[in-house]
Subunit: 479 residues, 2 copies
């Protein structure tokens, strides 16, 4: 290596991001292999169940037509004049015209915080959702939720002893951002035996332990609906959480990007933390993250999202503005995607019937697929899984025999990574081992998305593989 | 302030980014004021000359039609079937189809490094430009050049004594990224008396001084064409620079985002550092940055760009891949914008005549406007400016009287910020003071873009304001 590259930032080595880690890289290689006629693999396609990417090739959740028609007109505004009458619905034409008047060209930088008009639309959406007002000046549009999460974590880490409470299992963006910005991850465990519920006394214990070690807890991350768990918080727990933040002077970081992915909304509804904080008139500083990548929108590639600040003083808002201004502005395609998400067609609009049909279809398919997959995975020996009421994932627990654990050790792999690698090699299905999300010592899990079409054939592959695995390594001893 | 927000990352306070700083924020406020009928300001529009944003409202550089037609089809692929024959040129339809086959939906995450097919197109573009091969696996698509610059700077800062050589004046992204990642800016001065040329012995002196202070120089930033200076390096200087990097084991960070903005290409052509490094068979690690935000594309809002790594070992490339994977992928709208930039229509293609007319027009207008503005600003008392042969800016030097400097001091402002604030208040023209880019002690400058239409009326405003200023504060003493 050139001596010029002799030393690099040591945090680069400590960052881990399993969702696009070893398994995903191997899946890419396999996809290249499969282009050869004599590839020798026992499958002919790779299925990326490692990442919540609804519109990915092979998964093919179709985009919402309304969103894309508006976007096409924003890209080439002359199209509105050149297209024959009826090609675009009236409400689409009106929306594109309104956005063009406000934004000008989608090829121009916008306000660094996001187009003011779109931030107003977001504020209206939040107010309508919660029944409490929202301030457009406290809303920052972002390039997906991740960009905002990284920024806020880097802001809160004021010294190497700063800590942030994160759930286990967690979405690994949090540990990656903490590693990069040299903060401490303070882990608290979710309760798998109780449908992955959040236990406030477990968080309290983690705070006590962290303080005893000299770590200063600055913020609490809550992912609701959960990732990878799919769990939904009830309002009582949410109130306890806000109370805990008040008591311990914590900033509440609420990752609510799956708020529209609800499979059983009558029994497992979503309530925002903004609503809880507003109702309590709490002074807890709250950052709430949302995204167009999930929900029924699934527009990952646009890179759009927002965060809303509550109870943040103006000088901190100004500081955050300064930091986002260095990266100029979020992608305009993402910003107009946010507009479509927060202002969908309404009954009476020309686009409404199609929009309703498309979004109902996405909700129904996802709910049904999640239930089917959970039911059949639960029937497998040594496997148990909570049937997620929300989000896009299942997080099955696998009990492994001593022989399997020994074989993993011999291969130099974590046992669940060893299972996931074998699954990939045998079926072409790419999942993420639980070690990437965190789990209790001696437990093993994996996360898979519920996005694949042809659920029957898909689950058969999982079942067949698991059968062969148990045949080879034996069943785990009873607990 | 809530005690939860008692301590935040101290680097947030040290970051400065003048391009969107005090002047730009004031300009936004003025724009709001102007919506009132009795606003009381002596102008009726704000002109944002602070930022290179060609497609901004009021500047209105039209986007390239080819780029936008392809983008519209990618947003709503059914349009290709539904549109009447002839609405889209054949080559646009073919390009969109090809990209759709490769990418699938622009609403899906791509490979974190960027769509492989587009990286191949970038490699072909580089090879054709330089006459030396390029490797798609060494190319990372980014959300604009800034994202890549910040990443590479954060990688190279391995300890608080790590330093990076930056030109003065510089684009403030560099100092902002260094402040954020706690590295040392090692300044070297460009030579204004010699058309802002880069003097290798000045860099060498800065290295010596830095080492004497215990700072470890890790990399050298070169901005070519220059920002804010517009200067172009000749090949002899570029060879000396590469030699210097070899000698001092420096990584060369080549910011080449203005490579297509050449106003006098016959006397001031652009040569890439990739070409120089390849021709010398040098082992200097080189990162070359490019963007769709500038050039004739001007697609700032798409957030697209790339960097190419040369002489980087595979383990570092893998590390960079891991870091970019945490933010999932660059915006797809930016990625397809890169494709349009590196694969424009060719002679014989249906879109070529229009593309040629549009891009020729942009080049000609910018060159003419830059020359006109430089000529007239040079005629003002106390003002001198190098007529930029490249990029989008002028960086005039203003000599200020003692009375002006005293008035600035009394107002608590840097003298050039004081001048720029007065200019904004009087004319609505927003420029960035030289203190935001760096300058020698006791010198004052400002940067303005050459993007405004109606150059005659625009320069008249500058002239009239400057006349009033000199009347009020007197002329500077001769040097």
């Amino acid at each position: 290596m050139s001596t010029a590259l002799r030393n690099i930032n040591p945090t680069f080595h400590s960052v881990q991001y399993a969702v696009r880690g070893e398994l995903a890289i191997k899946a890419e290689e396999l996809r290249d292999d499969l282009k050869q006629p004599d590839h020798g693999h026992p499958f002919d396609k790779v299925i990326n169940s490692n990442i919540g990417n609804p519109q990915q090739k092979g998964l093919d959740q179709a985009p919402i037509t309304f969103t894309r028609q508006v976007a096409a007109l924003m890209e080439w505004p002359e199209l509105a004049k050149l297209a024959p009458p009826g090609l675009f619905p009236e409400d689409v034409l009106a929306r594109a015209k309104e956005l063009s008047n406000e934004i000008g060209s989608v090829g121009a930088y916008s306000h660094s915080q996001g187009v003011p008009f779109i931030r107003k639309s977001v504020a209206n959406f939040i107010a309508e959702r919660d029944g409490y007002p929202a301030d457009p000046d406290m809303i920052f549009l972002t390039g997906g939720a991740s960009a905002g999460v990284s920024l806020l974590i880097s802001m809160l880490i004021s010294s190497p002893s700063s800590g942030i409470l994160i759930p286990i299992p967690q979405y690994p963006l949090y540990t990656a951002a903490l590693a990069q910005h040299q903060g401490q991850a303070i882990e608290y465990h979710l309760d798998e035996t109780n449908d992955w519920s959040t236990n406030v006394s477990a968080i309290e214990e983690s705070i006590t332990e962290a303080k005893a070690k000299g770590v200063d807890p600055k913020a609490l991350v809550i992912i609701n609906p959960g990732n990878p768990t799919g769990a939904l918080l009830d309002e009582k727990t949410q109130e306890e959480i806000v109370h805990l933040c008040e008591k311990h002077h914590l900033v509440l970081l609420a990752d609510e990007v799956y708020q529209a992915n609800l499979h059983r909304p009558s029994t497992h509804p979503f309530t925002s933390f903004k609503k809880i904080v507003s109702a309590r008139q709490s002074h807890v500083p709250l950052v709430s993250f949302h995204s167009i990548s999930k929900g029924v929108s699934g527009e990952c590639g646009r890179r759009g999202g927002y965060f809303e600040l509550t109870n943040f003083p103006p000088e901190l808002v100004a500081l955050i503005y300064k930091m986002v201004s260095v990266s100029l502005c979020p992608p305009l395609a993402g910003q107009i995607g946010v507009d479509s998400m927060v202002r969908p067609p309404r009954p009476g609009d020309a686009s409404y019937p199609l929009w309703k049909k498309e979004t109902d279809g996405i909700h129904a398919v996802l709910a049904e697929r999640t239930a089917t997959m959970a039911g059949r995975l639960n029937a497998l020996p040594g496997m148990s899984v909570v049937a997620s009421p929300g989000a896009l994932y299942l997080y099955p627990r696998i009990r492994l025999s001593d022989a399997a654990i020994a074989a993993a050790k011999a291969a130099g792999k974590e046992p669940d990574a060893f299972y996931a690698l074998a699954l990939l090699a045998d079926t072409g299905i790419c999942v993420v081992p639980g070690s990437g999300f965190g789990q209790r010592e001696g437990e093993w899990h994996y996360r898979l998305t519920c996005l694949c079409p042809g659920v029957d054939e898909y689950v058969q592959k999982l079942e067949k593989f698991h059968g062969k695995w148990v045949e080879k390594y034996g069943a785990a001893a009873d607990e």
